[in-house]
Every structure is written in structure tokens, then in C-alpha cells.
Symmetry: C2
Amino acid sequence: MTKNIKVNAAILIIGNEILSGRTQDTNTSTLATWLNSIGVKVQEVRVIPDIEKTIVETLNVLRKENDYVFTTGGIGPTHDDITAESVSKAFGLKYEIHKEGYKILEAYYKPGEFNEGRQKMIWMPENAELILNPTSGAPGFSVENVFCLPGVPSIMKSMLGGLKNKIVGGKPILSHTISLKTVESEIANSLTEVQNKNKEVEIGSYPFFHAGKLGVSIVIRSEDQSKIDECSSQILRFVNEKNIEVVDR
Amino acid sequence: MTKNIKVNAAILIIGNEILSGRTQDTNTSTLATWLNSIGVKVQEVRVIPDIEKTIVETLNVLRKENDYVFTTGGIGPTHDDITAESVSKAFGLKYEIHKEGYKILEAYYKPGEFNEGRQKMIWMPENAELILNPTSGAPGFSVENVFCLPGVPSIMKSMLGGLKNKIVGGKPILSHTISLKTVESEIANSLTEVQNKNKEVEIGSYPFFHAGKLGVSIVIRSEDQSKIDECSSQILRFVNEKNIEVVDR
């Protein structure tokens, strides 16, 4: 992949606890922010339950439609952790003890503590590449373009550094935000005109109600800073004409 | 639908701002919690960008696979709000001004303030049913089994009350949580045994690190309280045998 090609990814959140509403997913935002910073655009997120058939089928769709797939969740020691076995089935690979992973956990735990439950964490698809875990020992893994990370947000986040050399991004996606003291309907038409004149940038409009302030954030996104600047000055032109106050959020 | 049939739903989050990582989605957790409480199980969540083709195709998959689909985002006044037009195309319906919606917003705004941008918010699929908005006027809408809500979390949440009579759920899904001062690998085998003996309940195991406490929450979910109770007592039996402390999170 060269630096000029657009690189995209899907995020697959695996876990009943997100679908039941019990747990608020934060991994999507962490992963998406990080991926954007290295030039990978997230084009889809799916949240699915701990059901093998669903994981296998979804993964087999996403890994063909995206340059990269990142999964979170389901790689712990308990019965509901079925991601590694499901990934093995999706790729038609053996599900077996990962020798290097075994050595890592054997060294990580005190003698006698590396029990059967913990050993489950290094059962992986054959020839999986490890993703090291600086927080709690048990590694994630990757197979081809699929990267499997844990669900616990702090642990997941700590493992991203080790992925940097494995992910080849395109041009980083740049963004500029203009926050205005106005409501969306006051600027909708002018913003549409600017978007129509600048087809290659992505302009988003997001109302905010925050700490007693009410306004609209306009987010301009592109791989090309000069296009963002041009678009930004066109927006500031109509903002000025309409006497709308530019604020910080 | 009778009260004994399982009722399921998908949530479709529409918005580039979630995929870029800029905005943390919280609507999934709000919607899922509410749906569970009225006996509707969320079986899938997807987050997709503001691209018409993607919205139309995704919606046409989800609305056939689920009893209900709830969308959030993309029903405001700006150019990137394309949910209503996309839903019209998905159903092959005209996209037009909703007369009742028009009257609501005409009365909501001061004379002269109901401008073109605001009028965009009542362009909907023909014969859509309105979902009233007690917070900021502009209604959501439903077509058949698809319910379209705004993306701003406080507004979205305020509209759920008005949906209650339109959604027919099954038996509410009950849950019971047992929080333990332990690590997952200590209980993994025993928990697997309990799950195998109680196939009809869903047992989830979730490590937590919260306010200096470290432990595992076991969540038992079922429509049948007696099955939860039986499963719970089997878990407490091995917890007791292992001398594991039961804690509150």
C-alpha cells in the first residue's frame, strides 16, 4: 500500500454487555481516533453478541470489505470469551496453544498460577501473530488483516503502541473545527453551498449544548490541509456576513 | 406479537462524527437499556457514515432481520442530515413535507423564524408517523418497523417516552449481578460448569477495575427469574467453596 491510497478499517465490538446497555463502549472512539491519526479511516463499526456463528459470519464479511478489521472483546479466560476460536473458524485455521504466547504467560505468572483458565488465553488460531500487552500479560493476536484486542478499555489502549508498525495507513485525515454561537438552521443553506463548492472535503455540522453554552461545531475533514483552509475561509466569510460569533467550545 | 415471542431490534447509528472518534456514542447504551426494560433484545448495532447508499443498503438488511430498527442521527437541518431522504429511498416512498410535522414546527417557532433550514426537518417519507420531541420541537418519525431518532443524546432520550405505546416487547429480560473480589481465571472453570448446566440463561463475566477495586462481575440474564435464582445459587456455592469474597462494585 502506498501513502496515496485510501486505507480503511472496520471495528467489530464483540460482547453481550454492550448490547444489553450494561456497559458503555468507549473502545470505538479510542480506536477510531488512533486510526485516524495514522491515516486509516473507519468506515463501519458493528457490535455483535458472543455467538460463534455471528462472529464468524460478520468477520468474514468485514475482513473482505476492509483493509483492516479490529475486534475488541472476548479474549479472556471465561466461557463467554470465544473470539479466538471464532476467528480460527472464520479463517479455517486450527485453534491451538500459541507457543510464544505460552512462554510469555508462563513467565508472567508466579509458579503454579498459570492454571487452565489462564492457559485458555493463549489458545489462538495457528500461526497467529501476537500483539503484546504491557498492562496485564495476556497478548492479543492478529491473523492476516484481522487484529484482536481485549475489551477492557485501559488494557486495549495500552496495546495500540505495539501495533504501530503493523498497520500501514494512508495520508492522515486532517480536520479543523469552527465553533459558532448559532443554531444549525441559521447556517444550513450557506453551509450546503460551501459543501457543494468543495466536494472533496467532508463538512459535518454538530449542535452542542455544553456547560451552559449552545452552538454549532462545523468540522471540516480532508487529507489536504490547503483544501481545509480554503473551505474554512469560505465558511468564515458567511459567518462574518451573518454577524455570527465564533466561539471556542 | 404475543408476550411469549422473543422480540429483537437493531440500532443503526448514522454519523461520521462517531466513526472519526470525535464524538463518543452514548445513544447505544441509552437505547439498549430502555429496550431491554420493555422486553426487546438488541441483537446488533452498526455505526455507518453519512452516505446515502450505505444507509439505504444497511437499513434494508436490518429492517428485514429484526422486529425493530432504531436509527439515531442525521435528521437535523444541515446538508449532512440525510437520514429521512435515505429512509424514503430504502422503502421506495416519496420524500415530502409532512403536514402534521409542518404544523407542529410552525407553532413551535416565532413568526418568521420557520425558515427553509428548519423546514428541511419535516421533510419525511410519505405517511411517516411522527415521534414527538418534547425538548426541541423537531419530531422524529417511523415507517413500518423503522424508528428514526435524532443524534443529540439528551433530545433522543427525551423522545423515548413517546415511543412506549408503539413498541410491543416480549418478556422483559431480567438480570442479576454478582460481583466478586477475584480474577476471571480463578472462576473460569466453575463458571463454565454452571453455564453448561443452565443453557437457557446467559452468563457473562466482566473484569472491573474501578475506584481502586479489582474484581469480576458475573451477570446472569434470562426472562425467567427462577432460572436466574437457581443459577445464582449454583454460582454462590462454588464462590463459597473457594472462599471468594462477594463485593459491591
